[in-house]
C-alpha cells in the first residue's frame, strides 16, 4: 500500500484536462518501460531464469492462457479475494458501527483491535491454514483479516464525522433510529468509507496470495510457487502482472462506484 492509495479520494482525476493528460501518458510510459526492460535483458548478460525478456513473458502468458491454467488459478484467487473482501467489509462495518455508537464497546474492544494490527498477517496465516485447512476457506479468512482494519477505522471516522447540526435536524424532525441511520449516517459516512474500501480492495489480493504461499494446491500464489520451483521465472512474471491487473480492476470498480454514488460532490457549475 502506498501513500497515494490512502489519499486515493483526492487522486481521482476531476478535471477533464487531467484526464486527457493521463490518456496519452499511460501508453507512452508503458512503452518506454517495456523498451528499457527489453534493453536491460539484452545487454545486462543476466540469464533468462533471473530476468526474462518481455517477449519471453508474453509467450509464457499465451501458453498459460492456452492450457487454461492461468484462468483456472485466477478464478480461484479471485473468488477468495471477493469472498474475503465481502466478509471483511461486512464484519468491519458492523463492528465499526458499534464502536462509533457505543463508548462501552469501544473501551472493551479497541485495545484488542489495535493490538491485533501489530501482528503481521504473514505470521498468523499458517495458523489459519492449520485451523481451516489448505483449501480456499483459510485464504478467504486471511484476506478478510487484512481488509478488516482499514475499513473498520474508516467506518468509525466516517460515522463520527456526521455533522452535529444534521443530527439535530433529524432529531427536530422526529426521525426514527432507522431513518437517521439510512438517510443520514450512511450517506454522510460514505465518502470516508470509500477511502477505506479502496485500500481494502487492493489489500484483499495480498491477503489471498499470502495464504496461498503458506499452503495451497491452486490459486495464483500457488502458481508463483510452482514457477519458482521450476525456475520458470517467466511464469512468475506472468502471475505478478495478473495480480496487478486483478488489484487494479478491483480498485477501478470501487473507484467507479464511488464516482457514481458520490457524483454530488462534483461541482457542475459555479457562477
Amino acid at each position: 500500500m502506498t501513500k497515494d492509495e490512502q489519499t486515493g479520494a483526492t487522486l481521482l482525476p476531476r478535471v477533464s484536462t487531467r484526464r486527457k493528460f493521463t490518456l496519452w501518458t499511460l501508453p507512452v510510459t508503458l512503452l518506454l518501460t517495456l523498451l528499457a526492460w527489453e534493453a536491460f535483458t539484452r545487454w545486462s548478460g543476466l540469464p533468462a531464469f533471473m530476468v526474462p525478456s518481455p517477449r519471453a513473458v508474453w509467450s509464457r502468458f499465451l501458453l498459460a492462457l492456452d492450457d487454461g491454467s492461468l484462468l483456472r488459478h485466477t478464478v480461484v484467487t479471485l473468488l477468495e479475494v471477493l469472498g474475503g473482501l465481502s466478509l471483511g467489509l461486512t464484519v468491519a462495518i458492523c463492528l465499526g458501527y458499534g464502536l462509533a455508537k457505543s463508548r462501552t464497546i469501544e473501551r472493551l474492544l479497541a485495545p484488542y483491535i489495535v493490538a491485533s494490527q501489530s501482528v503481521p498477517v504473514v505470521a498468523i496465516a499458517p495458523l489459519l491454514v492449520i485451523w481451516f485447512g489448505t483449501g480456499s476457506l483459510s485464504k478467504l479468512l486471511i484476506s478478510a483479516l487484512i481488509v478488516f482494519f482499514p475499513v473498520l477505522v474508516n467506518t468509525v471516522v466516517g460515522l463520527r464525522s456526521v455533522p452535529v447540526d444534521l443530527r439535530d435536524l433529524m432529531r427536530s424532525l422526529r426521525a426514527t433510529r432507522w431513518q437517521i441511520f439510512a438517510k443520514l449516517e450512511v450517506p454522510a459516512a460514505m465518502p470516508v468509507l470509500f477511502g477505506g474500501l479502496k485500500i481494502g480492495a487492493t489489500l484483499s489480493v495480498i491477503g489471498a496470495v499470502v495464504g496461498e504461499f503458506v499452503a495451497a494446491d491452486e490459486g495464483l500464489g500457488y502458481l508463483i510457487n510452482v514457477g519458482r520451483g521450476l525456475y520458470d521465472t517467466a511464469l512468475v512474471f506472468v502471475v505478478v502482472f495478473d495480480l496487478v491487473g486483478m488489484a487494479l480492476a478491483l480498485y477501478g470498480v470501487v473507484a467507479g462506484l464511488e464516482r457514481w454514488l458520490l457524483a454530488y460532490r462534483e461541482v457542475t457549475s459555479r457562477s
Binding site: 447540526d165 444534521l166 427536530s172 424532525l173 454522510a188 460532490r265
Partner: protein, 255 residues
C-alpha cells in the same frame, strides 16, 4: 397584535452547562409569551445564549430549570409542528434541492407525489425555480438558506424557529432574505421566533422584539413594534423606526 391564545410560553427558563467549577450559566430565568401568528425577534450581545434559548424552544435540549409550553403542552422533546432553521443552511450535500426540501415529509412517509407538489409550491414561494435538481455545492449562501427555509416550512409547522438564519450572508443578500422571509410569513399562517444580532433586522421584521441581557441571559426588554405592515426597507429611514431601534440598542448596552 392579537390577544389570541399563546402558542409558546417560556416559564423561568434557566440553563447551566456543567463544567469543572459549578458550570456555565447561559440563561437565568427567561420568561416570555408568543401569540399565534406573531413574528418575534430576539436580539442580544453575542455569546449571550441566544442559540441555547432557541434549542430549548425546539425541544432539542432540556432546561435546567423552568419549562417551555408549546400549544398548551409541556415541551419535552422535538415536535413536528415546530420547524427549525439553522445558522448554516445545514443541507444534505448528497440530496438535490428538491429532495432536501421534501426530507421532512419523507420522514413522515407522505406519498412522494404529494410531497413533491408541496415542495414545488414552496420552491415558487422562495424563488428557486430551475434549481430543483441542483446539489447544495452548486448553490450560493443565500440560495442554500432559501432551501433551508423551504424545508422548514414544508411540513406546515405552526411555529418556525430561526437561529441567525442570515448571519453568514452578505449585507445585500441579507436584506433581500429578510424581506422574503416577511413575505413567506405573510403568505402562511405560521408563528416565527427568530434570533438575530442585527437590531435593524429585528425592528424591521418583528411584531415584538425581545432583548436578552449579557450572560447569564434574561429578557431585559419586551418592545412591541407598532410599525404598519406591509413593511419595506424604506421604513428604516423613518423617525419612528430610528426611535425603536435606539430603544433596542440602549437596552442591549445597559443589558
Amino acid at each position: 397584535m392579537s390577544e389570541s391564545a399563546p402558542i409558546l410560553t417560556a416559564y423561568d427558563l434557566s440553563m447551566v452547562y456543567p463544567n469543572g467549577d459549578g458550570g456555565i450559566q447561559a440563561l437565568a430565568g427567561v420568561s416570555f409569551t408568543v401569540s399565534r401568528q406573531e413574528f418575534v425577534c430576539f436580539v442580544g450581545p453575542s455569546g449571550c445564549g441566544k442559540t441555547t434559548l432557541l434549542r430549548l424552544l425546539a425541544g432539542l435540549i432540556a432546561p435546567t430549570y423552568g419549562e417551555v409550553v408549546f400549544e398548551g403542552k409541556r415541551l419535552a422533546q422535538p415536535r413536528r409542528r415546530i420547524g427549525f432553521v439553522f445558522q448554516q443552511a445545514n443541507l444534505m450535500p448528497w440530496r438535490t434541492v428538491l429532495s432536501n426540501i421534501v426530507l421532512p415529509l419523507e420522514l413522515q412517509q407522505v406519498p412522494a407525489r404529494e410531497a413533491e407538489d408541496r415542495a414545488n409550491n414552496l420552491i415558487n414561494l422562495v424563488g428557486l425555480n430551475g434549481f430543483e435538481t441542483s446539489y447544495p455545492c452548486d448553490l450560493s449562501g443565500g440560495m442554500a438558506q432559501r432551501v433551508a427555509i423551504a424545508r422548514a416550512l414544508i411540513h406546515e409547522p405552526n411555529l418556525l424557529l430561526l437561529d441567525e438564519p442570515f448571519g453568514s450572508l452578505d449585507a445585500l443578500t441579507r436584506e433581500r432574505m429578510g424581506a422574503e422571509l416577511m413575505r413567506v410569513w405573510e403568505a402562511r399562517t405560521v408563528t416565527v421566533v427568530m434570533v438575530t444580532h442585527s437590531i435593524s433586522e429585528a425592528v424591521l421584521l418583528a411584531d415584538r422584539v425581545f432583548v436578552l441581557s449579557a450572560r447569564p441571559a434574561h429578557v431585559c426588554l419586551d418592545l412591541p413594534i407598532p410599525l404598519p405592515r406591509p413593511r419595506s426597507l424604506e421604513m428604516t429611514h423613518t423617525g419612528a423606526f430610528g426611535k425603536l431601534a435606539s430603544q433596542v440598542r440602549l437596552a442591549i448596552e445597559q443589558g
